[in-house]
Amino acid sequence: MSECTFTPDPDLDDHVIQETRIADAVDRATHAVAPCWPLRDFVAVNPFLGLSHQSFPDVAKRMNKVAGASLFMSRSFFAEALADGRIQEADLEHAMQTEPEAARAVGSVEALRTAAFDRDPDVPSQPLPTVVDVATTVTGADWSELVTERISRWASTYFDEGQAAWANPWRQLQPYAAWRAESRYDRSAEFMGLNGFRAAVEFLPESPHEVIPLAISVLGISDADMELYFHRLLMTHAGWSAFARYHDWQKNLAGERGTTVAELLAIRLAWELIIWRCLDAPDLPDAWRAARNQLSQKPERPDGVPEFSVEILLQTAYEHASQERLLASISKRPQDRAAPRPEVQAAFCIDVRSERFRRALEACDESVETMGFAGFFGVPMAYVPLGSDEPQPQCPALLRPTLLVREGLADANAAELEAADQLQRTHNYAFRIWDRFKRDAVATFGFVETVGITYLYKLIAASLGADAVTPRKSTSTSGYKPNLEIAHKNGQRLGIDFETRVQLAANALKGMSLRDGFARIVLLAGHSSTSTNNPHAAGLECGACGGHSGESNARVLTMILNDPQVRSALVEEGIAIPDDTVFLPGNHNTTTDDVTLYDLEALPESHQADLRRLRNRLTTAARRTRRERAVDLGLSGETGIDELLRARGKDWSQVRPEWGLAGCTAFVAARRECTRGSSLKGQAFLHDYDWKVDTGFEVLESLMTAPLVVASWINMQYYASTVDNRVFGCGNKVLHNITGKLGVLEGNGGDLRVGLPWQSVHDGQRFVHDPVRLTAVIEAPVEAINGVIETHPDLKNLLDNGWLHLFALNTSGIVFQQYLGHGKWKSVTPDVLDRIAAA
């Protein structure tokens, strides 16, 4: 092969490729990809995270081009809603008003209605072409499949987090260099008919920074088309791009610049060049030149209606309808309860699953108050389990943990703790030796010959639900307890110093709008779930704790709040906690609705009666919540529901242990008085907020930039996995094949799959998640809300581009203003209020 292996395209106008313009395009394309977290920290991510600076309809068009995705339900879905009256005429009219551009294209409400009952138009589901796609068309062999398969195979060994005992030897290199080094030996493509693959790899530049301009010039991509073309290429292995983005995300949190996605782009461009060069297909160049024009073309629609106009209107109408039902349950005059000192205050995570439990707990007694707060309780920590040096992040994905807390033992001195730590390390090491015996070459035969037969028992036990297949450490029974003492170990600073403790305590209490009126017992309940043999188990855990149980965060904050010294320091912050107030940590199991209480040895004798009463109420509330949830899970009958629900979590064949956050549609930041007594059906994130005590609106700022954004992430994750599970979801659980201990493939290969499983949004008969964009309701003056929006561009993007709806409550707890974007608000008209009242 000669020097001119890769020759620039003669048609390219601008032979001098502008490096900065390429770098910009790479930057924009790589940032258009949303990250996905590995399974052990699986948390919800807005799949359009990198595109929220564009409007929702524009992103719908873009995702259709780069991934063949649809951001809307099929028209038959809306037609059904129209037919059964869930969408009313008024909703259609409202949609026509709010989306004027689409409304002009469609014409009239009647036209819209007719269109809804039409069959789905032939939306081009074929995404923009790549050289590989064109080669597939030209040669009749599926090179697209081969390239995705090869990249995915390579990526699964490169990013592998511990599955393969014989690891990829080039993992220490940057992705492109690693891929190139390996590909020089790899004969697979040649055996599949791509002659000269290895020679072509030799000719590729050594640096990814050179491959990209080379590909641009050889394939003749114009400046204007680069970003879209790059984005399209990244979407051909969308899952691995997302995982690479996670790597970059972690680097960015640490203040470094991540280039993993750009490296993957270079690899994919290298494949474009290799197919371009190695394939014996004389028609390819001409076909490609014709095809690449599509990159810059505006798609022509036969009926002249801009793409998705009908869909965006129907979606808006559908959301409006469901919004009214929601606002009706929120918007009522708060009842001024004569407030004697509550007996118990119980704070839960804002997670929608807490709403049901809180309602049930409040229903037990007037004197029980509940609160909502992000489930990491404002403690941005990473937790180091005994016997490990690997901190596990216990805070939202948006944050970098700034504190390291290690697991300790209740009532153990330093020497005992050290001994326990060493023992745990020995156990871990022994477990790993045994694990290797199971799957090492040669040893594996001896393993089967001697131990294989014992799986008879394991199969029986697991089938009877008596053996949890996924090992779980039960922290509550074994005396483990977070250790807050300052210590230095292996170069890490562990523990929390006094000033920080006071700060954490003050921020948490202020964040909950809890400054006075403390009850005798204040329960801080994190949450977790129970499921076994479930790759996506972390997705059911507390998202605010990074996809882990919230137990340790609750325990850390209670330890701090029960410290008399901290309390006296808090007085200076204007928070006086009565001496007889005891904070109690707990954990709400969202699969079973049982609440476990911890660290009870700290509870004084005087509070034992309170504890008994609390326990009774928690038991009653749990039973009520389970009754309510049983309906959604298709469990009928009065008897045995408790046992059935508990059994689900231990069943290794159960693909729906619980519904997780399916159904999440609303976010409410207001005093509980505004919502107490209304059923929000487990669909609302509830954050306690009282703007009258929020000096300088600092709490408002933090709740709008963190919990609100996270709620929108979760809502968009469910939305996208519902409307197009093929692109944004991870498909069918019964086909899942865990790769690299970090993610799943569907079946025997293909791309890494991100997002939620089909079984998490669908029960076999119908969608369990209602695909609507989040409706946020905040009780605060609109000026203050505007002030926060204006100073936070990311938040402004989300709100101004239609990624969620925002309403404000007035002082009497009535919905009165809707955010229109760009700082403008609209009064909710009296007739709407009337309809709401009637609803």
């Binding site: 599955q163 035969f445 010959e449 697991a462 790759p535 086909l735 025997n748 076999g764």
Partner: protein, 523 residues
Amino acid sequence: MWNPIVLLTLAGPFTLASVALLSRFNFSGRHRFLLAASRASAALSLVLALGIGIYVLAAGPMSAELIGVDPASLILRLDALSMTMLALIAFVGLVVIQFSRKYLDGEQRQGVFLGRICLTLCAVSMLVLSGSLLQLVVAWIGTSVALHRLLLYYDDRSRARSAARKKFICARIGDAFVILAAGLLYMAFGTGDLTHMFKVARELSESGDTPFSAMGAAVSIVLAAAFKSAQFPFHGWLTEVMETPTPVSALLHAGIVNAGGFLVVRFSDVIVLSGAALLALVLIGAITALIGSLVMLTQANVKTALAWSTIAQMGFMLLQCGLGAFSAATLHIVAHSLYKAHAFLSAGSGMAETRSTCEEYVPPSPLNTLAAGVVSALVVLAVGTVMGMAPAEKPAIVALGVVLALGFTPMLARSFSQQHGEFLAGRFLLVVVGLSAAYFALQSGAAALLRDTVAVASIPSGLESVTLVFLVATFGLTTLYALYLPRWATRWPALYVHASNGFYADAIFDRSMGKLTRARFNG
């Protein structure tokens, strides 16, 4: 000869087939009926297999001609081998059906799925019960046809179709060898009745006057087994058939892929007549075992790694057959089935708990490894001697004991750790002693159970030392390579690339069946 016991044996396959048949019709309450009936029929099969198995153990093997005239007759053969396999299949079937009830809940075609599972179970049951050549051939083909329908449960997936097609090609080649073997056997023995055939074969092995057709049949059986049990380089289908729900993989790896091994053990009396067949088993088995276990180490996908593990285990099982250790091979089939069924069904729990699990080991020092090797060998030898497995009498068991000792070596070497002290080494030494005892106990148990059922052969005299050296060298090198991976892998990086791609055998197969062009345009 309408023995009630024999008729009772048929009740299991008969109910399974009935459920499969009913699953093809639409009637009200069909879904609930199939959920209940599939589980009930599998449970019934298990109860019957266990009950009759105990009876057969007490009363001795029996064989009953039900219908037809030799060679076109239906004969059930009830002996320790067929009853063990029948119970195994019924057990795995019951576990798989129980698992599928919740796992596929909400699937519109769950009933169809359960019906197909029942049909497959029925076919495998008839295969292991076969007492005549014709029944064996029909059940053999029926099993793979029934499995094919399960592999195509999601027939809208192009990768599922492509994998099923690959399996289909291998299965048909395997079928051809089974039919060829059946023809040659009939030529050699003049009967389709297996009981009669094996009696003649034993007489032949004593007289040493083996007809050529019998030897040809033995080799054909070995080749059929190699295709059925996914032996290198015809293994590719097994690493791709996870395009269908997990329970099918469990059933396939625990119930069907064994059919090759079962065939060899069933015909062990014939196999031992041919030195070439035994040698082929040793070579195919050893090569597949080693390649499979090396490739397995490189795989990042759980189910793909499990599939490579099965390939290796099947290779090892055929190697055992080649060494004449047919009872050990049967034990291996049972143990591996139970282990692999569990491994597949629990494949959803393989997440990293902490990041640190992927950190590479510090490989043990050469001295530690040597010490571990010597200790392992001594323990295996000592325990074997104490438990009455004297090397002179059972050279095959001893040869396999060497492999066991090699397997213990890395475990023991790693446990000699400075950081964790003698505590750990002591514990693992106890583990090695315990496992050795379990090994020999299980081996003698299996040998006693199958005493009159399978052939007893030993490595041809004079070849003992050659075999031993061959095993120690190949399995020993592989053990060392895996133990010192971090160091050696970087020295020969190309080996990693070739191994992780399964030495390209599959890519060549794919290309010759036109995978790229077919997957997209024809299906």
